[in-house]
Structure formats: structure tokens, C-alpha cells
Subunit: 198 residues, 2 copies
């Protein structure tokens, strides 16, 4: 199959996408070449373009094509609040609530010692530097409520508190529309502990 180097190379390269094994990679390669060469070209250009242009925002660390991203440049946002999220998708979810007008810091991951992901990989020093810019009054930790997200929040919280920064965490409790019968006991326990006077 030496003569088909570029077909082999395409299958190999597709396998490096997350969640794509050898069989799907081959199916994708055949599909693109047989039925959608336009998509193949488009994807090829999009990949090279993105690698060339996308970088991390110097301020909030999210993906951007400019030095500083649009959100960070927006003068209407409250620079005294800094919300820490794991991914750009999480940031988008919080934006959709329309309940937060502060700025963000995107970790681009979470601490996971078992996978060899330490503080360096979540841009910990950049976050510390960002939180200490003199404007930030409160850091809102919005990492996921998974074991790793919780550990990440704890680690960041301890370090920031030691430096005198006010730190908060998204509330845990029964989801909106949740029926107690179908909510797990851990969530109900937490909702009980964090109950609010009305």
C-alpha cells in the first residue's frame, strides 16, 4: 500500500481526534474522499487556520484570535468579579444565565494528578497573577461539581484565601424543577446544610 501514502496518512491523522478509533478513522477518510471532498478541503483549511490564529487571551486565558478577547475588552463588565471556569463551554453556559456581569478566567482543564495534570497545566500562576491585579474583589469558583472539579476549586480557594482574596463557590442544591424523589441523597444533604432563611 506504499503508493497510497496520503490515504494512510489521512487515516492516521484522523485517529488523533478524541474518540476516533482505527475503524471510524478509515470510515471518515473513505467518506470524505468518496462523498464530500469539499468538506475535506474545508476542514483542512479550517484546521491550519485555527492552529495559525487561535491563541490564549492574555487576560482570561480563553481561546481568541486577538491579544485580549472580546469579553475582557468589554468596558461594561464588572472588573471586580472574576469567575473561574474549566472550559470555554462552561463560560458560555454561565453567560447564558445573564446573571453574571463580571470577568472570567478559563483554566482550560482541571487538576487531575492521576492523569498527570498539575497546576501548571491549568495555568495556575497566570490565574494568581490575574487575581492579584488590584481590581478583583471576589473570585467565584465555577469549576464542575465532579471530584476533580471540586479538588481544583479547593486548591485554588486555599491559595487565594492565603493571599487575602475573597473566594466564593457556586451554590449546590436541588436543581430547578427537581423532585426530591429523583434527586440523589448527597445533593439533598448539601441542600439541607446550605438551606437559606426566607
Amino acid at each position: 500500500m506504499k503508493k497510497n501514502g496520503s490515504l494512510e496518512a489521512l487515516s492516521e491523522a484522523l485517529r488523533r481526534l478524541p474518540g476516533v478509533g482505527p475503524k471510524s478513522a478509515q470510515r471518515m477518510a473513505y467518506h470524505l474522499l468518496q462523498h464530500d471532498r469539499a468538506a475535506a478541503s474545508e476542514l483542512g483549511h479550517a484546521l491550519l487556520n485555527a492552529v495559525d490564529r487561535i491563541q490564549h487571551c492574555a487576560s482570561c486565558n480563553t481561546f481568541t484570535e486577538t491579544e485580549i478577547c472580546e469579553t475582557c475588552l468589554d468596558p461594561s463588565r464588572d472588573a471586580s468579579q472574576l469567575c473561574v471556569v474549566e472550559t470555554p463551554t462552561d463560560q458560555m453556559m454561565i453567560e447564558q444565565t445573564l446573571m453574571y456581569k463580571g470577568l472570567y478566567f478559563v483554566l482550560m482543564g482541571r487538576l487531575s494528578p492521576l492523569d498527570g495534570i498539575g497546576p501548571k497545566d491549568i495555568y495556575f500562576d497566570k490565574l494568581m497573577h490575574r487575581a492579584a491585579n488590584g481590581l478583583v474583589q471576589e473570585v467565584v469558583l465555577a469549576t464542575n461539581f465532579t471530584n476533580e472539579g471540586e479538588a481544583t476549586a479547593h486548591y485554588i480557594s486555599e491559595t487565594l484565601k492565603a493571599r487575602g482574596v475573597k473566594v466564593s463557590r457556586l451554590a449546590r442544591g436541588v436543581p430547578v424543577g427537581g423532585e426530591l424523589e429523583y434527586v440523589d441523597p448527597g445533593t439533598i444533604a448539601r441542600a439541607m446544610l446550605d438551606r437559606r432563611t426566607t
Copy 2:
């Protein structure tokens, strides 16, 4: 998000891969940009390269970078036999058996009227032309034993027989290692009909 055009474009382009929805496309885009930019570049170049170089073999219709593929050029192969398969993968499976020394024709699909896939899409005229080159003594139909594969085999078989070409089909029966208890009745019925004197 206007400033992030190339990130959006990358997600959009990834969605055109078979089996990739909006969520996985975004996850792939983030993964590549965050953890594996080398893979992104490599895939980008591989795609453009493949689109540029890969074409159909003028003789057997498989993917190749040359006018005629290696298999068709191999003088040790028996030009009197022509095995018709749906995909290059199927051809590879037959090659692995080491039981066939003839040449191939790759349909690059199967007839599927419901999906609008007709004889043109499986290069029917090219196959007829190939089978009528004066050297082919027997056409072995090795399309899949699915409804569509069977219909494709039937269609090709009828046309070729009308032109006086000898046509055969892969045998159906109990798979090697198969226990009757776990084989479907249709397969056993066919194995009974096609039983061989030993």
C-alpha cells in the same frame, strides 16, 4: 463571538465528519487547540494532501494516487477473475484470506434507492466496461450479505449474465467456529440448501 471566526469555522467543519455532532465537534476543536496542535496541523495537511492526490484507479475504481493502482498493475494476478466488492476495506478483507489471486472492482458503495443511490453512484458503466475487456472469464460478486448488498449483487448479476459473462457469488453458510445453537435460522436454512456432498 465574531472575533473567533476560525474557531467557529473549525467546529463547523468538524461537524461534517460522519458521526460527529455539534458537541463532539466542539470537544474535538478544543482538544486539538489545547492539547494537540501538532495533530491539528498534521490532520490539516493530510486532508489537503489526500484531496489533492487521491483519485480512482482507472481500472478497478479503488482509491489510488496513481493512474492505475498497484494491485491492477501486478502481473502475477489472474486477469480472468474479477471480484466485485463494495469498499476498499472489503477488498482488504478478501486479500487477507490469501484465497483469491484475481483482480478487483470496487463499487465504492451499494445500490440503495431509498437513499437515492443508483447505478451511476456505484460506477455501474465502468464495471460493465471493465468486465467486457475480453480477459475476464468470471465475475465473483462479493458485496455484503445485507439487503442492499444482495440487491446490488442481483442487479449486477442479471445484467452481466444477459451479456454472457459467468457470474458467481460468495457462498453463504454457517461461519467457521459457528455453533448451530447461536446461528440464525436464515443462515442455517441457506446452509442446508447449499449443502455439499463430501
